[in-house]
């Protein structure tokens, strides 16, 4: 896999507060990443550091293979952060032309990108006349001008109405389907669940989880089981290849699946071994439950 962004023990302190603590992860080409975390968990600070606007306190990061300076690497990156920043007195096209000059790309793609975000008919309107949703879409168009290797989006749906949120998500999905690597920071879990394949979960500047959404989601689900002889049941489950973690929860056992298995199969297998279940439920955890679980454990 070709790596796009590598972080090594990145740390940022604002006076006594540590906003990002020893953060390490790698972004690989072709995946859609989500950075999840409650407000103030260091998402924007992390993005600010790799985007050259916030100075790191410690650690290191590099773009691509690390051979180029950060600002040159950023010419191959498209990024929008928090809220769209453009010159209010310029029109959409003039603003995008300026971005082209900074990135050193031809201005020929402006119309095409405006079309992608559905702003072509407003291309000669001044930026200050735009609604928030339009501003956000213009920001996406601007980030796409250089056909970036990676698109970085920080809270792209913040403050938008449901229609605006929907529009932005559709655009993101469309871009992702074309194979562009995306890094999406958000505190909206369903947003990340819907769009991302990988997640980095942050809390108070520390990484709690890095990996695929599926793994985190325990996508095979888990069983909640009860039998008359709990000891035998537990031994049996521990010896079963299909299960990973097994934990006691009150009178029941919770067994996490490592491979897909449906409830009737398990029931049949256990009965053949003489274990009769009095309680059998199969469930799937939502990302939200997982997230709350992860962040709760560390309190």
């Amino acid at each position: 896999m070709q790596s796009i962004l590598t972080l090594n023990n990145l740390t940022k302190k604002f006076g006594p507060i540590t906003a990002v603590k020893n953060l390490s992860f790698t972004i690989e080409k072709g995946n859609v990443y989500g950075i999840l975390g409650p407000n103030g968990s260091g998402k924007s600070t992390t993005l600010g550091i790799v985007l050259n606007v916030v100075n790191k306190t410690n650690g290191s990061y590099h773009w691509f293979d690390g051979s180029d300076s950060t600002h040159n690497a950023l010419k191959k990156v498209g990024a929008i952060i928090e809220h769209p920043n453009f010159y209010p007195y310029m029109t959409a096209v003039q603003n995008l032309a300026l971005v082209c000059k900074i990135k050193g790309v031809p201005t020929s793609k402006i119309d095409e990108k405006l079309e992608v975000v559905g702003l072509l008919d407003r291309k000669n309107s001044k930026f200050r006349t735009f609604s928030l949703g339009m501003k956000q879409r213009l920001a996406i168009a601007s980030a796409l001008l250089n056909d970036p290797e990676i698109l970085i989006l920080d809270e792209p749906t913040n403050g938008l109405d449901p229609q605006g949120i929907h529009q932005i998500r559709e655009i993101i999905k469309k871009i992702a389907s074309e194979g562009t690597t995306i890094l999406l920071a958000s505190h909206l879990l369903d947003e990340v669940e819907k769009v991302c394949s990988h997640v980095v979960i942050l809390r108070k500047g520390e990484s709690l989880y890095t990996g695929t959404v599926d793994e985190m989601n325990a996508s095979h689900g888990f069983f909640i089981l009860q039998a008359s002889d709990m000891g035998v049941l537990e031994t049996e489950l521990k010896n079963h290849a299909g299960f990973g973690k097994i934990k006691k929860e009150g009178d029941t056992l919770v067994a996490y699946l490592e491979e897909p298995m449906d409830a009737s199969t398990l029931n049949q297998e256990l009965q053949q071994k003489g274990i009769v279940l009095s309680h059998l439920v199969k469930r799937k955890e939502s990302l939200e439950e997982q997230f709350l679980e992860l962040t709760k454990n560390l309190n």
């Binding site: 916030v54 950023l74 952060i81 453009f86 010159y87 032309a97 000059k101």
Partner: protein, 278 residues
Amino acid sequence: MLRLLNIELQKLRYNRSAKVISIVYFVLITFIALIASIEFPLGSVNFRVADQGIFNFPFIWHFNTYVAAILKIFLAIVIVSMMSNEYSYRTLKQNLIDGLSKKEFVLSKFITVIGFALISTLFVFIVSMILGLSFSDYNEFGIIFSDMEYLLAYFIKLVGFFAFCMFLGILVKRSAFAIGFLVVWWIVESIVYGLLKWQFFKGTDIAETISQFFPLEAMSNLIKEPMTRLGAVQSAATQLGENFTKSYDVTFLNVAIVLVWTFLFVYWSYAILKKRDL
């Protein structure tokens, strides 16, 4: 280089207030020519300012650069706001994210500053040339092109002053406050000079020796006031028993001081930007 200038010009081109003030500034420079038409009756003769020798080569270089330099405050507003707008629109952040380095950002502003100073100098040159050729008593080639160092001094004075404005714009982040800071700075320089002159080093020249290193004082020392150099004023003064024996030359020391300040302002602008989290 050209790319950076191009980026900055694109930002200025569509900014209506910047455009209006710049145009007003350059129009005002050409209006120096209007001084020529001032005339008032003095007894039985008609007194014409243009006939008093202010448009004589090479004195005109001194006079026009001095007068034109007063107008620089107009461009100062444009420069301060072109810095602070980047903060208030948060476009500085966006520029950096789009792949401009902090060094390139400061350079693009400084190149624009030099551009403004160059065009101003060119304007003053053209206006002076036209006025001089119409009114000067001496039109020999050698005289016309003597004392040209005033144009150089004018250019350096503008670059230094605009670099100061640029630095204040980055430091203070708000145009109005940055202009206010400029005024406060000027007052502080005057107070410090006053204290040195009338309190600590009374009756000596030490105050001047120190104050020539102050940035604004150094800039104003580049082109000294030309009024007392006029023939009419000099003869009037002689009759009153006063004698002006000061030098009106552009000195190397003054040029050097302003150049050092210019370098410091640009460097500090970069240093602040580098240190700041946006």
